[in-house]
Symmetry: C2
Subunit: 391 residues, 2 copies
Amino acid sequence: MAQINTRYVNLVNHETGKTYDIHTPQTYCTEHNEPLVAQYNLQKPLNKGILQNRPFNMWRYKELLPLWDDQYIVSLCEGFSPILEMKNLEKKYAFGQLLMKDEAGNPTGSFKARGLGMAVSKAYELGIRSFSIPTAGNAGSALSAYCAKGNLEAHIYMPKATPKMFQLDCKIMGATVNVIDGNISDCGKAMRADNGDAKWWDVTTLKEPFRLEGKKTMGYEIAEQLNWKLPDVIIYPTGGGTGLIGIWKAFQEMKELGWIKEIPTRMVAVQTVGCNPIVQAFNANLTSATPYEDPGVTIANGLRVPHAFGHKLILKTIYDSNGMAIDVTETEIINALNEFATNEGHFLSPEGAAVWHAAKSLRSSGWIKDNEHVVLLNTGSGYKYAENLWD
Amino acid sequence: MAQINTRYVNLVNHETGKTYDIHTPQTYCTEHNEPLVAQYNLQKPLNKGILQNRPFNMWRYKELLPLWDDQYIVSLCEGFSPILEMKNLEKKYAFGQLLMKDEAGNPTGSFKARGLGMAVSKAYELGIRSFSIPTAGNAGSALSAYCAKGNLEAHIYMPKATPKMFQLDCKIMGATVNVIDGNISDCGKAMRADNGDAKWWDVTTLKEPFRLEGKKTMGYEIAEQLNWKLPDVIIYPTGGGTGLIGIWKAFQEMKELGWIKEIPTRMVAVQTVGCNPIVQAFNANLTSATPYEDPGVTIANGLRVPHAFGHKLILKTIYDSNGMAIDVTETEIINALNEFATNEGHFLSPEGAAVWHAAKSLRSSGWIKDNEHVVLLNTGSGYKYAENLWD
């Protein structure tokens, strides 16, 4: 029997506080060009003991997700990814504790399953049946798969520089794939041109409110899996930034719920030197980022985002957490990927490898201190990027 | 602190009952050319309540695994893969219940992580530090990854017809990769020629006893995840057959432990028409299989095994369970892979797709009856095989 969730109560512009009707589909605050953020009734007591008999996927936190009615869940079993000890590299580089949250085992091989699983389910509940997305690869794979499962329609816009694997993945799921000669922003433009009459629901990062809600489940899991004691540092590869913002949002919600006592965590955003708008803004101590002109091609396709729609939220997360933004080179990514594989037996995504290099830099600079506990986010499987790595 | 497991007590030739010393490394019964099988003290009571606070990987069943001392575990977090409902295809083809145990999210993207994780850990406990394997792909990936994690040496022998992805995977983990112009049996020959002085530990399927023990954890999980009520039918892609044998072994062990009351399950082995030695033996009602001459290349690389060392155990499992062996064509595999993706949003391995076609055949022939519960085994991620699927 369907179960009804009554905690999701509001959608707001995070800057102005302006609220939006939650009973009709909402995109973003077009007045101020800012994302909308879901809010919950967190005053009503919720014991974390509810988690004991829950499924091992992100829907275990369903009271903190925006879906009202369970019957609309479109799920491929996303989330509840493991947090693993990286003992060999912990020792080699003298980390206090080095952990990796490994998103590689998710459906369609990446963390994007969380956000798209949530966005598709909620849109489905609100009556939407066709979707479109500009994507660096994995978000397109995920949207295609959830649309296949839900018997829904998917339209994918992907840069030509994306490994062919991602196109194959979307096509095999029955999606319509458009390959665009340009970067992800160009894909967004092409999609909006084709979708002039808004026949498709646009699930561009943060241009609808619910991918963020799916991504935040990483934060709930980190807390639960570390027995409600948060790490000192979380290092995250930042393209669109939804996960970084989402993890931080989850921490705030859990504190309000009384599930955790304190939030010691510093959030680190990692970008490439060829496309580092957040790093530049952080270095200049700005609260907003400038669109990056002519972003360089990278093997970490997910990091080639010249202007994240959530740039202010990303920077706010970094500042609020006393965090950091840092960039890495292509050579550093490749070397980090190889080092991680030969030492720990995990074939990281290039984005995850960028995170590993950043961790080493911050450790050797002393920004990460001797006894600190560090969580690396590996956002996806390296296999889908193999084309980038062949000689 | 290290925890000591005392339940693993014996290694026997499954046919003759001859026992082997468990305190030194053992390969197989060279006298009768048969695999050795691990035995446990199952009379000593063991309450399945122990599972409540266990990690979500195959080591949750450690009392039923051969490792004595926890400190030798080499783990990448293998096992405890989900069992998922395939509601769209269940309805389309009128299955009583259609479930899929999805091994795609395992480390290195396949079920091979279980067997190699176990074999490497146990060999490590017994003092072994270098390994070799002939492989259709995924077993090589897994051995390479566990050797990387354990700081051990891996030598891989792989057919030329294997997708390049698998070579890359092994190399990135630091293994030595030898590409052989031939099938997996030819790889075995080449490996044994290079390893004349037995400097490497040979982990060929069933030529050491412990990959089987890792693979059997799929059987424990199926029981636990289905609340200790086994399905009517399990359909399994059968190359070397370790998983099929292992699941059945787990069921027998659980019955002896009192964890399950009955074993209604019929075990189905799926092969390709181009290499179907088990199907031929089954159709002729034989208890052993004849080596298949000149096996055809298939996109389901893992099924190109002309002579499984465990052929008698595979056939015994099929007969003991009132099961079945069935073969599928290349076109059927590709069509099944596409149908599964567009209907359920999962990109199966070609071996998993072979299983799905077999399920449909057995349903339409009536061998799978109206109300029966069916579990499909998807043994790995389709992404690693993408090269086989590009036009």
